[in-house]
């Protein structure tokens, strides 16, 4: 009897929530959006009365942005969407999948974790059509198909996850006016960047703000550094073999990249607060040093999301700007770009979840988020003029100029390395251990 009462209570609560459904942010039919794709989807899909639960990584500000996009899906398909997220979303998806009460659609930024879930049979394959569609419609489509394909429970590889929304990681942030005041130029090569670093020290300043602190995830910003330097010192296929452990973590190629990171982070003169402060500074506090007076530092290496943590009122493009983390001119490895992204996958096969994957194929699903902010997409059919702010367009250009695009390596590695020993190893490294020591320990922790 208690169960029945609870169920009816839940139904009532759902009804109340429906009244709060968001209004559509961009009126249908107006602006340079691809409304035809919306209308086509609207006509083809009628799932009135169905509900879809989505569990994703976007919280706070990002949750508002994604819900705008979801409102269009609801309007077109009639499916009521329940989006939720939490700080511990990775663990929660694992627990829910294991216990048999997963959401309909889960969205995760870690391909390594998705591979685990696929292997245990919790994910539904997306099918050949979607695979073909991705290869055709995404820029560098085959690499995206590769990113979303994993070995299933029976060992056959298939497409399980749909990449949606990407971030560029190979960025260096700076304050253009501080550069002007000091007479510095944006470096075009890694050699110039290292020369600039030494120049700033010679001028009595501190070049870098590096912060690895992130509570339980302390250390991850350093993995981005190492991956970026890996792509700049080794060919892309070495990088690929590194992420699968075909190339051992303690091989000289990797140790070299870690030492290169050490050139920046382990020199007391190069980092604000000295090398000892690197591990203890929170990555969210770290960029604030760019904006103090006098500036605590001039340069900050971080992904495209970091402006959320700039001091209030900072205008990107005016108070702060970014440049491409350059490649070594002497190494002829092209212009590699490191990125990250989120992948959507079906954890409960229903018509609504299938429809949602179809929806992600429409240009409009990308454009309504693009037109807001912090959204990059490799989909070729979107109208690039819709980018909500010019900096996103500039990042899009970095992406387009890339000769190589590689996904965040730590997200590709097994969780115990990519979200474990790699992080702690980097903390030990900046704390004083040698690159070889650290790399040996990480290699030892790689699951057999």
């Amino acid at each position: 009897m208690m169960t029945r009462l609870y169920v009816s209570a839940a139904v009532l609560a759902l009804g109340a929530q429906g009244a709060l459904a968001q209004d559509l942010k961009f009126p249908i039919g107006e602006g340079a959006f691809n409304w035809d794709s919306y209308k086509a989807f609207d006509e083809a899909t009628n799932l009135e009365g169905q509900t879809l639960t989505i569990f994703g990584p976007w919280r706070g500000e990002d949750q508002v942005l994604v819900e705008v996009m979801l409102a269009y899906f609801t309007a077109a398909s009639g499916v009521k969407v329940n989006y939720s997220s939490s700080e511990n979303y990775e663990q929660q998806i694992v627990i829910d999948a294991q216990a048999g009460s997963p959401p309909d659609i889960a969205i995760l930024p870690q391909p390594g974790l998705i591979a685990d879930l696929v292997k245990r049979g919790f994910v539904t394959p997306l099918g050949e059509d979607t695979q073909k569609w991705l290869a055709e419609n995404y820029a560098a489509g085959d690499s995206w198909v590769g990113l979303g394909s994993y070995a299933g429970p029976d060992g056959t590889k298939a497409l399980y996850a749909f990449p949606y929304k990407i971030d560029v990681k190979s960025l260096v942030w700076y304050s253009p006016e501080n550069f002007e005041d000091a007479g510095y130029e944006v470096p075009q090569t890694m050699e110039e960047l290292k020369a600039l670093t030494e120049q700033i020290v010679a001028d009595g300043g501190t070049p870098w703000c590096i912060g690895l602190g992130s509570g339980g995830a302390t250390g991850w910003p350093a993995t981005d550094w190492v991956e970026d330097l890996m792509l700049r010192t080794q060919p892309a296929d070495v990088y690929d073999r590194w992420t699968t452990n075909e190339l051992a973590f303690n091989s000289p190629e990797v140790v070299g990249a870690i030492e290169d990171f050490g050139w920046f982070a382990k020199n007391d003169a190069f980092v604000a607060g000295g090398a000892a402060a690197v591990a203890s500074t929170d990555f969210r506090d770290s960029p604030k040093g760019l904006f103090t007076s006098p500036p605590q530092c001039y340069l900050h290496h971080q992904a495209s999301f970091i402006p959320s943590f700039f001091p209030e009122g900072t205008v990107v493009g005016q108070d702060a700007d970014f440049f491409y983390f350059p490649a070594y001119a002497g190494k002829d490895l092209g212009k590699p770009v490191l990125g990250a992204g989120t992948l959507a996958f079906i954890t409960k096969d229903t018509p609504a979840s299938r429809a949602f994957i179809e929806w992600l194929k429409t240009p409009i699903a990308h454009e309504v988020w693009m037109a807001q902010k912090s959204f990059l997409t490799p989909l070729k059919t979107v109208n690039a003029d819709l980018y909500g702010d010019p900096t996103m367009k500039k990042m899009g250009d970095i992406l387009l100029n890339a000769t190589t695009f590689r996904f965040d390596g730590s997200d590709l590695m097994p969780g115990s390395v990519g979200a474990g020993s790699f992080w702690t190893g980097m903390v030990d490294f900046v704390g004083g251990k040698s690159a070889q020591e650290v790399a040996d320990a990480i290699q030892a922790s790689w699951p057999k």
Binding site: A13, G215, G216, A277, Q296, G415, P447
Partner: protein
Amino acid sequence: MNPAFQALLVIAVGVGGCVGYFYLSNLFLDKVLFPARGPQAGRNINRANAVRPWLFLFPALALLCLYLAYPVFATFWLSLHGKDGSFVGTGNYTAMFQEPKFGESLRNNMLWLVVVPAAATGFGLLAAQLTDRIKWGNIAKSLIFMPMAISFVGASVIFKLVYDSRDAAVAQIGLLNALWLKFEGGIWSVLFLRVLPAVLVGGLLLAVLWGGWLLLRPVLDARRQEKPLIKAARVLGGLVALVIAFELGVWLLGVFTNVLPYGRPQAWLQIPFWNSFFLMAVLIWIQTGFAMVILSAALRGVPEDTIEAAILDGANPFQIFFKVKVPQIMGTIVVVWTTITITVLKVFDIVLAMTNGQWETQVLANYMYDKLFRSLDWGMGSAAAMVIMALVTPILIWNVWNARKEMR
């Protein structure tokens, strides 16, 4: 329907259901099944009394079996299986014991197990005794209890602010570093950073030595006849005390000889070994309130006449406290100690939020969480859990033994 009203209704049904069960089942037992009247009244009363304990126990036992006992067996079973679900026997255990991180967790856990319950119970007892004697004691109690009301997440935020460390060039916002920078090696530094710790460590050293002597004295006393087992236990205890005393002596020496990095802000959570103590401080801060409330209730329950008798005998307040009150509330102290010990073994939130086991602060509970949800290795995680349970077994046996002694 208003959600608040729904919630109330649901609460009423849930709680009412519970009360209803106990009331109606007892009614049924006494009036219908074994009525205490008619020809078999006497037998029925006996029968009803034999059944009633189980009636009282049934909901609790059912929930316990389902929610705790069953997972224990499931865990044990899982701990014998590998990551891919195949049976590996004790493979997980041997693999785990070879991991350096596991050894580190085990060592740290031992440290936590000794320091946190002792400090929290000690402070709790002190606070309970002192606040009972003054007019504004209740206010003081509320303030000391307050951290109990703060979630681990909140406590981590609070102590992160205390431990915050910044470049020496800018103003410190962490209280501990601001205080630390006040010391420059002058007379106050010597007083606070050499003499005071030396007095504390020295006091502890003497207490340990005295405790060891108390343990060993009966062995040296030839007149006393004791079982060899107890003698052996006494010698073992004495040796442990000696080892601890030696360690403390080394510390005492260190207090005077080590070179302190005056004038440089410290990243407190990154100093190996000592950072564990900074994490423990958070849990001690939280748990002292618990110990104080329970112990204060026990202290008030100490019969007045025993105290009055002691006063008449000319005992001073310290003697009254240690020789009259403490022995009478020993049972409660054991309960508090046990409860905090168990909390220590299970706490992972503080470590997770503040260091995630880096800089050599890993503890078993966080190690297990890491294995379960980050590595998705259920076998290893379960094995770690079994180790946690094994660690508590001595305390358990002691508690059970105590419980049985009481019942006799």
